[in-house]
């Protein structure tokens, strides 16, 4: 299917085939025997059961044979796994942050890219992963690798991409509302292309991010509210401050102008005024989560944004 | 199922056990004032000893059937095993 996409693919697939092969032999053999007995010794054909004693040798055989086979399976699973846990020293390190609900790849020196991981063909890549909120799990099916991203800890995962192409990234640990949208792409490109791409990637200065935006990022607002007009779970933040919105209050439509009071209210009691076309109850109150001071920062951010637009 | 007689322990036995336990508490207390790497293991050991004494005399294991005795210590051993297995993770992280 994806044969050989990473250096682990073949080993994992081999293990899988071995276990599956043994399993199939047992499954088919035992099922066939079962059906054969059910027909051959059916009451109609075989009205009188023949009793016999336990056979010790059989009992021993079916303790020993499965034990040997499972140890074999364990062995293959072990050797093809243990290599996954020790990255070569010269591997290219990329820092990964999984947060509700995006993947952020930091190639160092402020070179940050969201949701798309670009890696050079044939080079060992070592991902150093953490999360600021809850558990996630970084999963590239084609590469046969997965490791949880644990808040408060740094976990590792490495691989050598062996075939050019694009592969899916999934978040495999349940992390809330948009868990199933926390997906991305690994782009495997030639090494030269990678260097070019990295050079062209604009530098994001983390300190230059406005405080209000950083706060919204930190509180996962941007997981549901886009900044470019696209509709996610909640209404987009584009053209917010000073513009008109139609909202539902207790089921009645009202036209309001977005001001500081409206934004504050939407953060603290989000279900009081629901923008038309959206569902009540999807957002929780941030009362006690975002301080008053920080709400002001967020409001300021929206103000500056709309000034730029005007 | 015949009703077996409940074993009656003498008052004196309990008093003795009580005194021993008090001595062990005092002992533990003074050890805790000391310095050194040996202190913690010794404290735990003495706690375990106190536990055994409570189990054997206060809780009558001395006079119970072998079956009951073995499941009690079996279960405690099992708990220790579970803790040890958990530490296979934490010790090698």
């Amino acid at each position: 299917m994806f044969s050989g996409a990473s250096n682990f693919t073949d080993g994992v697939d081999l293990t899988f085939l071995i276990i599956l092969g043994i399993s199939f032999i047992f499954l088919i053999g035992l099922t066939a025997t079962m059906i054969f007995f059910a027909i051959k010794f059916n009451k109609k054909r075989h009205p009188k059961a023949v009793q016999f004693e336990d056979k010790m040798i059989l009992e021993v055989a079916w303790i020993v044979v499965p034990t040997v086979l499972v140890l074999l399976m364990f062995y293959y699973g072990y050797v093809n796994f243990i290599t996954q846990r020790t990255a070569p020293k010269d591997a290219l390190v990329i820092n990964v942050t999984g947060k509700m609900w995006t993947w952020v790849f930091d190639h160092g020196k402020g070179k940050i890219k969201k949701d798309t991981l670009v890696v050079p063909l044939g080079k060992a890549v070592n991902l150093s992963m953490t999360s600021p909120d809850v558990m996630h799990s970084f999963y590239i099916p084609a590469f046969r690798i997965k490791e949880d991203v644990v808040p408060g800890q740094t976990t590792h995962m490495w691989f050598i991409p062996q075939t050019l192409g694009n592969y899916d990234i999934f978040c495999a640990e349940f992390c809330g509302l948009r868990h199933s949208y926390m997906i991305g792409i690994v782009k495997v490109v030639e090494e030269k292309e990678y260097t070019n791409w990295l050079a062209k990637l604009p530098v994001t200065d983390l300190n230059s991010v406005p405080k209000g935006l950083a706060l919204m990022d930190k509180n996962h607002c941007l997981g549901c509210h886009s900044q470019d007009g696209s509709v996610l779970i909640g209404p987009s933040f584009v053209n917010l401050y000073g513009n008109e919105r139609t909202v539902l209050v207790d089921g009645k439509e009202e036209k309001i102008k977005v001001d500081s009071a409206y934004i504050r209210n939407s953060i603290l009691s989000p279900n009081a005024q629901i923008v038309k076309g959206f569902k009540s109850g999807e957002m929780k109150s941030y009362q006690g989560v975002i301080s008053d001071e920080n709400i002001n920062e967020i409001i300021n951010y929206f103000k500056t944004k709309s000034e730029k637009k005007n | 199922m015949e009703q077996e007689q409940n074993h009656i322990t003498a008052y004196k036995t309990y008093l003795k056990v009580w005194v021993v336990l008090l001595i062990l508490i005092a002992f533990n207390f003074t050890i805790a004032m000391q310095q050194g790497a040996w202190v913690n293991p010794v404290i735990i050991l003495i706690a375990a000893l106190q536990g055994c004494i409570a189990l054997i005399w206060f809780m009558h294991l001395k006079y119970e059937t072998g079956f009951l005795r073995s499941i009690v210590f079996g279960v405690i051993g099992f708990l220790v095993m579970v803790i040890l297995i958990t530490f296979i993770d934490y010790k090698f992280r």
């Binding site: 399993s23 075989h46 796994f81 846990r85 809850v134 558990m135 997965k146 | 099992f78």
Partner: protein, 535 residues
């Protein structure tokens, strides 16, 4: 034995006790009535869980949003998991058939503590009602998955505390049943019934009860810690407060892995009753089957880490747990071999109980053998938390425990109600169920291997074929189930009268009338032979 068969005592269904009508049921301490109380409540909750399952399947029919919001979907699989695990399959066989049969199987009049037994059911009911209440009260149903992983569960603002409390209460019920059964087995066996003369269902209940006693408290304390964390901000598992989220997983699985053996051991016991009786054969390897139950209980307690191969646990722990996981597969294998050998040279009666037992073996083998794929480190890293795992556990829980439950229903139905179900309907339901089941879950193995993660509200188009097949399978399965339940309900009143021993069995329940009288036996029988001693 004759006095036991031909007596004029009122049977337990008609018997009039201290209370009349419904009160005579919900306050009855008769183990058989309590068994039926469990049966009815479990089937009710089971239908709720099944409905949620079908809803999820319909939602997943196409990529994109159909009729559930993501939040509703997340709540749906959480409640589905909680109901199915804590309300249906963990009490399932042990509380229904265990209660009904255990005292009769060992020649006793009731369990050791009948009042405690009734209390267990009441606690179960309270826990179940609380669990259902999470759906309607407070800030909406929990959305954490049945695993309640921290720190999501300690920060999600849904009804997590209530759900966790429900699981806590249900744990008590489970513990009390376990205590009751162990004491009953130790103290109330009829004269002459040595340990190795007990029916094998009793053996499996004995092993199950030990797990219930030793594993359940761990989930209790863990869930209490989650509550403490949510209420008092004690950061047991929250990394922001210095806690370790992986420790939560350890504690959760220390209970929840043994819990899967709480589900399957009684199921294995049921199958071990049905196969010898329907084949008129002595069971092959009695001791091996009895002792393998204990082995599964013991080793099965120590393998919890196999749910955490990718969690960030130490590498040493990962391979130790993998090794232990493979070892626990061996006693299960022993049982399968012994069941099949028991059929050899038997005189096999292929009526519904046997059909369900054979289906059980087939599905359990698929579930168990795919468990080996999960137990192996290299492959589990790939398929962990994908639809492959979902397929594994549905095969083994529903195909295993579920089909064993159906087998048990068909086997003991005449004993419980004194009437026989409609054979023709039963064959039809069996056929539909088998087709539907495999259609429902087999595609999930395939898309799991292709990388379809679980708990996904939406999915990429390449997985659609598998999801569509699976959704169709869900509807077929549901048809089969409805047909079966209809058959049971109808036959309880209209079915033909059943004889005392319709399958020609030798265990003690067949030596009393159908339905059994209130205290089972007029004279406590004296046991001289090993069980299943067919001549």
């Amino acid at each position: 034995m004759n006095t036991n068969l031909n007596n004029t005592l009122p049977n337990y269904l008609e018997h009039k006790g201290k209370y009349k009508g419904i009160l005579g049921w919900i306050f009855s301490t008769d183990h058989k009535r309590i068994a039926l109380l469990y049966l009815y409540s479990i089937i009710t909750f089971f239908c709720v869980g099944m409905l949620l399952g079908v809803l999820m399947r319909l939602e997943l029919f196409k990529p994109g949003q159909q009729f559930l919001t993501p939040q509703q979907y997340n709540a749906a699989f959480t409640i589905h998991g909680v109901i199915m695990v804590f309300l249906v399959v963990i009490p399932g066989l042990a509380a229904v058939f265990g209660n009904f049969l255990l005292p009769i199987h060992i020649g006793a009049k009731d369990v050791a503590f009948p009042k405690l037994n009734l209390l267990s059911w009441w606690i179960y009911l309270v826990g179940a009602v609380i669990a259902i209440c999470t759906l309607v009260f407070g800030k909406g149903p929990p959305d954490t998955g049945w695993t309640f992983y921290a720190p999501y569960s300690t920060t999600s603002n849904t009804n997590v505390v209530m759900a966790v409390f429900a699981a806590f209460v249900l744990g008590f019920s489970s513990i009390l049943t376990g205590i009751n059964f162990i004491v009953t087995i130790h103290r109330m066996r009829a004269p002459g019934m040595g340990w190795f003369k007990m029916p094998l269902f009793t053996w499996s209940l004995y092993a199950t009860s030990w797990i219930q006693i030793l594993a359940t408290p761990i989930i209790g304390i863990t869930l209490l810690m989650v509550v403490a964390e949510r209420w008092f901000r004690i950061g047991f598992f929250d990394p922001a407060l210095g806690g370790d989220p992986i420790l939560f997983q350890h504690l959760f699985w220390i209970y929840s892995h043994p819990a899967v053996y709480i589900m399957i051991l009684p199921a294995m016991g049921v199958i071990t009753e049905i196969i010898p009786t329907m084949s008129q054969k002595r069971v092959f390897g009695y001791k091996a089957i009895a002792l393998s139950s204990l082995a599964i209980a013991f080793v099965g307690y120590l393998v919890w880490g196999h749910h955490m191969y990718t969690s960030g646990m130490s590498v040493t722990a990962r391979w130790v747990f993998s090794l232990l996981t493979f070892i626990v597969a061996v006693p299960s294998a022993i049982k399968v071999f012994n069941w099949i050998s028991t059929m050899y040279k038997g005189s096999i009666d292929m009526r519904p109980p046997m059909l369900y037992a054979l289906s059980f073996m087939f599905l359990f083998m698929i579930g168990g053998l795919t468990g080996l794929v999960l137990g192996s480190l290299a492959t589990d890293v790939h398929v962990h938390d994908t639809a492959f795992v979902v397929a594994h556990f549905h095969y083994i829980i529903f195909g295993g425990m579920g089909f064993a439950f159906f087998a048990a229903m068909h086997f003991w139905y005449p004993k419980i109600y004194g009437r026989m179900y409609n054979m023709k309907l039963a064959y039809w339901a069996w056929g539909i169920l088998n087709v539907g089941f495999n259609l429902l879950y087999f595609p999930l193995f395939v898309i799991g291997l292709q990388g379809m993660p679980r708990r996904y509200f939406d999915y990429l188009p390449q997985f659609q074929l598998g999801h569509v097949l699976s959704s169709i399978g869900a509807l077929v399965t549901a048809t089969g189930i409805i047909l079966m339940i209809y058959n049971f309900i109808r036959s309880a009143r209209k079915g033909e009268r059943a004889p005392a021993n319709p399958w020609n069995g030798l265990t003690l329940e067949w030596m009393v009338p159908s339905p059994p009288p209130v205290e089972n036996f007029v004279e406590i029988p004296v046991i001289t032979e090993v069980p299943y001693n067919f001549k």
